[in-house]
Amino acid sequence: MKKLLLLLSVLVMVMGFSLAVHASPEEDRLVFRKFYEKRFPNVATEDFINGAYSIDKAGRENWEAIEEFPPYEPFMERGREMWEKPFANGKGYKECFPDGPGVAHKYPHWDKKQQMVMTLPLAINQCREANGEKALKYKKGSINDILSYMAFESRGQITNVVVPKNDSSALDAYEQGKKFYYTRRGQLNFSCAHCHLQNAGMNLRAEMLGPALGHTTHWPTYRSKWGTVGTLHRRFTGCNKQVRAKPFKAQGEEYRNLEYFLTYMSNGLPLNGPGARK
């Protein structure tokens, strides 16, 4: 009997693992959400868009005080000017984004023509280069101005990443992003999941580790540590460095695929960027 039970347990574990490996993006998302709902049963799902402040009461009070005079406002203002100002050829962002600046919820998406994940910063630079303008840097600088403005104009839109079923390359990119998320890296041998799934809500020195659900809804973000607004890929870079791994290139394939997976996990949550964090 004992042997039978042991065999059954092993079978369940093996089946569970194989199910997990072959799960669809939607199954992944439901499991992701379920994990946090179990871990933090008193947090409303929509509140996860506030990151660590959804679970850290004292931190939330400080953050709400900061939000009374949002530190990202000057960036948004400069971004609005960028949006309005035509390029040297007379065209502008408006031609590249005909639906207006509030389109952050359409990114990232699978670009069938280019066979790659298209992010908003990449689309901004492709627009600039197509119009004879110099590409902006992807982590610091004025890309954060235009992103802040577009994020603000996109507030309230719902995250809705699609992995097209008829394009296996899109699913591959999603799976690569998922694998990245669960892969141990660096000298500390940590994966993204170690901090933001397994240890979400725990403290690293004085900082509380935020849940990954809702992680992508509020970018770009003003971080007090940076003293400025920075991009999501700048944050990815920082995370990798913190576990003592060599970071990948911002807007390179690795981080774009990671963004694709991570944003899909937040499908259904409203955008609330730009954000402010410690």
Binding site: M15, G16, V21, F35, R184, Q198, K241
Partner: protein, 130 residues
């Protein structure tokens, strides 16, 4: 008057020439230690050993990088090791390069051991209990 003038020019020329010779000597003297240093680096067996270890460590770093497994500080360690060789601190250079090489090997092993997605048990259990 003309003789005085010619003597004056002669003295000036001598002074200028001697100045040039002195400057050239000083230049040679300054160049000598550098050359000597290079010779010492080339001749010291520890320098050759350090350079060999640095090369091997750099190859290990690149190998780890080829599978996305390079660690943050490996490249920095190698830079420091190269600088240590230049300054003649061979023991320090060897120690740093050995550490960097080890990091390269571990980074490679870490990345290649996870070629397939490995979900943690606290996640897989949720797929089973959907």
């Amino acid at each position: 008057m003309l003789i005085k003038y010619k003597l004056g020019i002669l003295l000036l020329m001598i002074a200028f020439a001697s100045g040039q010779v002195l400057a050239a000597d000083q230049g040679k003297a300054a160049a000598k230690p550098q050359a000597a240093e290079k010779k010492a680096v080339a001749e010291d067996p520890r320098a050759a050993a350090a350079n060999k270890i640095i090369l091997a460590a750099d190859a290990a770093r690149k190998k780890a990088g080829s599978v996305g497994g390079e660690w943050r500080d490996t490249g920095k360690m190698l830079k420091k090791a190269k600088a240590a060789v230049k300054s003649g601190a061979y023991d320090k250079a060897i120690k740093l390069a050995e550490k960097a090489g080890r990091q390269g090997e571990l980074g490679y092993t870490q990345a290649t051991s996870q070629q397939k997605l490995q979900l943690p048990s606290y996640v897989t259990v949720l797929y089973v209990n959907k």
